[in-house]
């Protein structure tokens, strides 16, 4: 008989608490898969929005109709000679109408409205000196306003960051609940084996030996449970509607490439968590036995 067989032999299988651990670990790992997915997706979304919006800007020119053409030409000239601007293009009437239609409906007599002129600007990766550009524009074309979309970008980025924080908080909570369940189940298991522990101490067994059997069993059950839960969670993620087929907000939710290592790591993390919790509990309880 080796040490492992002996420790299994002397600690009776105490069924329920241990199964509770396996089941809870499965449920927690299942939830953790989604929290993880949310966390990495939120990070990716924030990045995408940042990239899509950060290199574009709009110049809006509001001027009396007779000055419009002239100011537009001035603005385009200013933009062309400003370092950091890759491209500037006047939007056509149809494009502007299309933008407004989304908000105001198709039947507007747009011709009758004094609409501002919009210029679509693409910045270089470094971007222009925005402060200097604004000053120049206000001097040469008083009706022009340079808008680099910061107003839109910031709430999106903040929203994504907040989403990510919530997802990470959920992961911490899931981990805490898991540790608490292992501690409770370990205490229950140790309490129901009080006589075994007492006898083992009396014949000279060291705490390490006694704790080993309990800790091993808890860790094994938690790990198996977490593996099953993580596998189910991953399958559920795979069965989500394919993001490529639609442009829904769901697009980008999920793991990509090596991101799949995250759900795979859940059983490992659970094993470490369960091992530490069970061990701490066991040594705590054993201190009370002479």
């Amino acid at each position: 008989m080796n040490r492992y067989q002996i420790s299994r032999l002397v600690v009776p299988r105490s069924g329920r608490g241990v199964w509770l651990v396996g089941l809870s670990a499965a449920a927690m790992a299942f939830l953790a898969v989604f929290a993880l997915a949310l966390s990495v997706s939120a990070a990716r979304l924030a990045q995408n929005w940042q990239a899509a919006l950060s290199q574009t800007a709009t110049v809006r020119i509001s001027a009396p109709p007779e000055e419009m053409v002239e100011q537009t030409a001035i603005v385009l000239e200013v933009l062309r000679t400003t370092p950091g601007i890759a491209d500037a293009r006047e939007m056509t009437d149809d494009e502007q109408a299309g933008l407004l239609e989304a908000w105001l409906g198709p039947d507007l007599p747009l011709d009758a409205l004094p609409l501002p002129r919009l210029i679509d600007v693409t910045e270089t990766p470094g971007g222009p000196d925005r402060q200097g550009l604004r000053l120049r524009l206000s001097a040469e074309a008083p009706g022009a306003v340079y808008d680099d979309h910061t107003r839109w970008r910031r709430p999106l980025a903040e929203g994504a960051a907040r989403l990510r924080q919530l997802a990470n908080l959920s992961l911490v909570l899931i981990g805490s609940v898991m540790a608490a369940i292992v501690m409770l189940a370990s205490s229950a298991s140790l309490a129901s084996n009080a006589q075994v522990i007492r006898v083992l101490r009396l014949v000279g067994a060291q705490d390490r030996f006694i704790a080993q059997a309990f800790v091993r069993r808890m860790t094994l059950r938690a790990t198996l449970g977490a593996a099953a839960g993580a596998a189910l969670g991953a399958i559920a993620m795979l069965l989500l509607p394919d993001p490529a087929t639609g442009s829904s907000v769901l697009s980008g939710l999920g793991f990509q490439g090596i991101g799949w290592l995250l759900p795979v790591s859940l059983p490992v993390v659970t094993a470490i968590l369960a091992w530490a919790s069970a061990k701490a509990t066991a040594f705590g309880v054993l201190k009370g036995v002479t």
């Binding site: 008989m1 002397v10 083992l200 009396l202 014949v203 000279g204 060291q206 030996f209």
Partner: protein, 223 residues
Amino acid sequence: MIAFQDVAHDYGGGPLFRDATITLEKGSFHFLTGPSGAGKSTFLKLCYGELRPTSGSVALLGQDMNTMSRDDLARTRQRIGIVHQDCQFLDHLTVEQNVALPLSATGRTVSQDNLADLLGWVGLAGQARALPPTLSGGERQRTALARAIIASPEVLLADEPTGNLDWDMSQRLVSLMVELNRMGTAVLIATHDMNLIRFVKTQVSARVLRIARGEVQTAGADL
């Protein structure tokens, strides 16, 4: 082997004994007597550290119990054998596994030959695979003694080890303890069986400690 220095013990209802200063030498043979409830079991529990004295100090195999770490206590217990009054078996293990426990639970190897010999000697060869709850009182005590001596202890502590045995079996078990004592094991037996004490005194020089009137005395020769 065991040294009590000014030891007193009190469960809360007044001290069972006070100022006990006693030394059990290597190779000695002692009996501990006294009426029921005098504190014999308590005295033994102090010896192997299940209880801590209310005052004074107890040293086991040269180590002070008050300063011993938990692992030190475990290692020290590996060198002593204990027959508990209430046996203290693991009921889901067989007699054989219970007897081997002091070795198997401390990482030492169990010789199947020695185990079988020992069980044969205490008359339990037929019960090796039985579970403790199915044993008679006498069989339980023989199992407890076998477990106490399987690891060749330097000290043997036995609490009423013959209480449920007939005279033949009592003599047989106590002869085994005398044999161990001749090979160097210090023995301390708590009992109120005067016949047993007389029987042993014909074979070895045993000393008798008596707990009476709150003191642990060395009894006179009038037994």
